[in-house]
Amino acid sequence: MKFLEGLGRWALTSVAEMGRMLIFVLSAFGWLARPPFRAIQTVKQLHFIGYKSTFVVVLTATFTGMVLALQGYHTLRKFGSEGLLGAAVAVSMIRELGPVLAALMVTARAGSAMTAEIGIMRITEQIDALDTMAVNPLQYLIAPKLVAGLIGVPLLVAIFDVVGIYGGHVVGVELLGVNAGTYWNSIESAVEWKDVYGGILKSISFGLIISWVCCYKGFFTKMSAEGLGNATTEAVVLSSVLILVWDYFLTALLFNL
């Protein structure tokens, strides 16, 4: 009986939390449509989420492409299909690894910082101060971060894909001796437009997940240092899990139907 009570309580709490999250993001988008438009705030957030994540994204992409080529080469060689190395690297990058890994890196670097920043503003009453000055915090703080996530993550994913494919080229062509023409031609013939827009669609939705979850967790953090620590951890874990789960369903919808 106690187990059922606990289960019921958990279910009710979870549904209520999901409802709050939905209202939160819809309100923020609602405020986005009303003047004043926060162009400077949005550019600042784009700089923070996008530009400042470039280095870590490039680094991750390089090594992901390289290891993909290394693993792929030895597997393909068993079947005498080394010529398909470029296609294997590019399709994996564009469909899956680019969007997912770039989003996870942005979550770790920018998402956690977003939660901490907003959480500290909540604890030190800076968000209340905005309210008392008749400035809506959702419009001033949250909406620019949502927009920056929606724009910044797809751009980072595009960089990730290109760098990753070049990483694969370095290992496959320069180190393992695959013909350069074969590498690039196989990419051209294997990659379809559906792969590219599927990747873009994934990256846009991941950008929304990151800024939504991380802003929400910071905005409703408990008023203590421990509460803020927990909120940051929850934001990173929930964003990462949602990215992976949503990735599965989106892949099923986009590429397998």
Binding site: I120, M121, T124, E125, Q126, D128, A129, D131, T132, M133, A134, V135, N136
Partner: protein, 256 residues
């Protein structure tokens, strides 16, 4: 006139306010005192709509604000300003930008007009030439002064002070109290201060209200508290027997 009628509030399963009735006199400094955890800050946040009561009403002149939201609430808030416990300055902005923030955001002012008004306020609170510093570079007292400058720059009709001297040494606390009273006398705004600085606040307030067990137990001019016969109130305010002295001192100065 700011007025609370039978305001109740429960937070975290505990009833904090149990029917607060309070009418704040216009153009005067009213201080709410009470023990820690009595709900003084909670009460103050109801006055500006940061918290909504479970029941009861909050009136600002003829507008009942407790059920207002969005634009309507913001219109009322334009008449208010609040100094928070930790000053609540925006970390990412300099002192100048913090004070300029409401001017730029709400009045859409730009250029020299902003500069003149911000520098005037910084002068008034004793922070001349400190505009370029970030909040993290300031001492606790300076942060409070900057917070006061930001609150005053919009020339509010009603100012709320949430424990403005918490965390300050006695000398700095006195200088903040002096600054608040001099600004209140100069601009004649209605001020509500939450404090536990007994007996000091008896020397600076026009009225003192005691919050006890979720209700206003007493509200009067400081000098009247020496005549109270309520043993609990007597015990609460007779810290070192200095209440009388401070009340008398303020009477002699013509403060209350």
């Amino acid at each position: 006139m700011l007025k609370l009628v039978r305001v109740t509030k429960t937070l975290g399963g505990q009833q904090v306010l149990r029917g607060v009735d309070l009418a704040v006199p216009e153009g005067k400094l009213t201080t709410i005192i009470g023990r820690s955890g009595e709900g003084k800050s909670v009460l103050l946040k109801h006055m500006i709509g940061l918290l909504q009561p479970d029941s009861g009403e909050v009136w600002v002149d003829d507008v009942e604000i407790s059920r207002l939201r969005g634009h309507a609430l913001n219109e009322v808030r334009k008449r208010f300003a609040m100094l928070f416990q930790g000053a609540a300055l925006f970390d990412s902005l300099t002192v100048f930008e913090n004070v300029a923030f409401p001017l730029r955001e709400k009045l859409r002012l730009k250029g020299p007009e902003v500069t003149n008004r911000v520098e005037e306020k910084l002068d008034q609170v004793g922070l001349t030439g400190m505009g370029h510093k970030f909040p993290a570079e300031l001492s606790g007292g300076m942060r409070k002064r900057a917070g006061l400058a930001r609150a005053l720059v919009m020339q509010p009709e009603i100012m709320l002070f949430d424990e403005p001297t918490t965390g300050l040494d006695p000398l700095m606390a006195k200088s903040i109290h002096d600054l608040i009273t001099s600004m209140q006398r100069k601009f004649r705004f209605t001020a509500v201060m939450v404090s536990h600085e007994i007996p000091e606040i008896f020397g600076i307030s026009d009225y003192v209200a005691i919050l006890k067990q979720g209700k206003i137990a007493a509200m009067a001019e400081p000098s009247e508290f020496q005549r109270t016969t309520d043993p609990e109130i007597k015990e609460f305010i007779s810290v070192g027997g200095t209440v009388l002295m401070h009340a008398k001192a303020s009477e002699a100065k013509g403060v209350s």
